[in-house]
């Protein structure tokens, strides 16, 4: 490192010998320059995230034509609708079960890959990451084709084994299962890479010490791996909870909320009300119902990330 440092400083010295002096003035300007550098970012965040977020709250208090203030009317309307409560229920089922299985599969596959000899790990990791690399909208289309009512390739196997055809997307409960399955398929690789990185960061000496003390694999996992990975696991799970809860692509493409609105999640229901039916205020109100759970997750993620930052130093 030291010689590279010298090389750079030497390069700068020869490039700008004249700009010397005025160091004090420089320091005075420092915060101004820093602020100017942040300005584009601030403009984007304020205009396209903060302002829309508050605008959304305002929008949700208007009537459909956006001509009249109706207070909490949209929220009150939603709370009386059975479909809305089904959306709440399905979003919770969707997010919780998908995140659980993603975390489980991610944990298992990360351990399996970590068990392999080092030179084979990269290849397996690359292979298992494929679902996460394909744009979700396009792989959802592929899954839809796999679930196609008349041509389902899964049903070819199922009937070949002597069972009845499975109505993957036409039966409400199978449809719920299918969208969760696709979400698990898509999201598990993310957990895999996060956990694999966390596993690699656990010092080997801990395992060696445990082996000397006669710990078996399970004891090593419970007493070393889990405590060492706890923080990163929590961050990953909470983060995934947000992303899964707000997921749109899978449900919109495979079922568009059907059959009988049973697979709608907040995002697709808000899309249907706001964009398809043209009732933007009602759609805004629907998507704002996501806010509490997102905010709670965000607070905990932030706490975890900060703690992690302090641990590393």
């Amino acid at each position: 490192m030291a010689d590279t440092v010298q090389r750079w400083t030497a390069g700068i010295q020869s490039a700008r010998p004249a700009a010397r002096g005025g160091f004090g003035k420089f320091l005075r300007q420092r915060s101004t320059i820093a602020f100017m550098m942040c300005l584009p970012l601030l403009v984007i965040i304020v205009c396209l995230v903060v302002y829309p977020a508050f605008y959304s709250i305002y929008l949700s208090t208007l009537n459909k034509a956006q001509t009249r203030f109706i207070g909490l009317g949209n929220y009150r309307f939603l709370l009386t609708r059975d479909v809305f409560w089904m959306v709440v229920q399905q979003s919770a089922i969707f997010a919780l079960s998908a995140v659980f299985f993603k975390a489980l599969i991610g944990l298992i596959t990360a351990h399996l890959i970590n068990n392999l000899p080092t030179k084979g790990q990269r290849k397996w990791r690359g292979m298992l990451l494929v679902p996460w690399v394909i744009p979700l909208a396009l792989s959802s289309l592929g899954w839809w084709w796999l679930f196609d009512p008349t041509h389902s390739a899964f049903n070819w196997i199922v009937t070949g084994l002597g069972f009845n055809e499975i109505p993957w997307l036409s039966d409400p409960y199978w449809a719920r299962f299918s969208v969760i399955l696709v979400n698990v398929w898509y999201g598990a690789p993310f957990f895999l890479i996060m956990y694999l990185a966390a596993l690699k960061s656990v010092p080997d000496q801990l395992y060696e010490a445990a082996a000397i003390d006669g710990a078996n694999a399970w004891q090593k996992f419970v007493h070393i791996t889990l405590p060492m990975m706890r923080n990163i696991m929590a961050i990953t799970i909470l983060f995934s909870l947000i992303v899964t809860f707000a997921n749109f692509d899978i449900v919109q493409i495979m079922t568009a909320g059907g059959p009988r609105n049973m697979t709608h999640v907040f995002a697709t229901y808000a899309f249907m009300l706001g964009i398809r039916s043209g009732d933007l205020p009602l759609g805004a109100a629907t998507s704002l119902f996501m806010l509490p759970i997102l905010a709670i997750s965000a607070v905990f993620i932030l706490r975890g990330v900060r703690k992690r930052g302090r641990e590393i130093g």
Binding site: V5, W8, I12, Q13, R16, A19, R30, S31, T32, I33, A34, M37, P40, L41, I44, I45, L48, V49, Y51, P52, A53, S56, T109, L112, N115, L116, G126, L128, P131, V133, I134, P135, A137, L138, L141, G142, W143, W145, H151, A153, W156, P189, I193, A217, T236, I242, V243, A246, F248, D249, Q252, A270, F271, G274, L280, S287, L288, R308, G309, I312
Partner: protein, 299 residues
Amino acid sequence: MTTAAVSVPSTRAQTRRSSLRRSRRWALVASYVFLVIFAIFFLIPPYYMVVTAFKTDAEVAHMATNPWIIANGVTLDQFRILLTQTDFLIYFKNTAIVTVCVVIITMVVSVLAAFSLGRMRFWGSGVLATGIFLTYLVPDTLLFIPLFQIVKAIGLLNSYWGMVVVYPTLTVPFCTWIMIGYFQSIPKELDEAALIDGAGYMQMLTRIFIPVALPGIIAATIFAFTVSWAAFVYPMAFLYSSDQQVLTVGTVTSLIRADVYKWGMLMAGALLAATPPLVIYAFLMDYYIAGLTAGATKG
């Protein structure tokens, strides 16, 4: 076995060692078996998409043969139809334009901001860094309805330039966040030396920080690329005419609108659309993973 072990301690150690080796080997075999099972689960859809894309329409339509293999000969017809008789190439061009613009905007904005927040500091910069992380957690499905109004107000509804305006909300926060991490890991002595030698802040950034943090820049670029290539909610809500459409939405909506579902062609389209990200990952996966995990673990 216990008696033997008690009477001859050295043999006991030996049996223990060989049983340890045997159990290691079993663990390895078991790992491979389960990995193969998971790999099958993960690779079924892409495999089936490839198989379908190379089948003839007749074979796709009649389920006479095993759907999992190509029985009646490989054909490139699906790709030919896709490229000559549909708007697929327009979608591809639109997506490419949007993605390139968004990646450039994202990198300029987030590298400048990360340098300033990670290194220079000013009043409120700590709060701002936290705020950026929080905006990363705001999902697009929460913002698309108010953004619909805003995009409409600036006259970019149903224009892919509207995507260039709104996609940075998806990319900039995270890219800034991981770049802050990379910049903070650069030793302080470097910028002190540069300042003493009379370098300005811009020079410091372009000559020291960008070259040193190049892995981070690559990771952030890949992130911005992937996100804007795969974005779905915003184009789904804001674009409706075919000449402005992007790949993801175009493939799953416009191509489908024909009377009969041309699954072979749809799969060919999905595959072609997924190729650029796949190629990038094949070559730069390690940078990306390092950047992602660093972003979450270092903070």
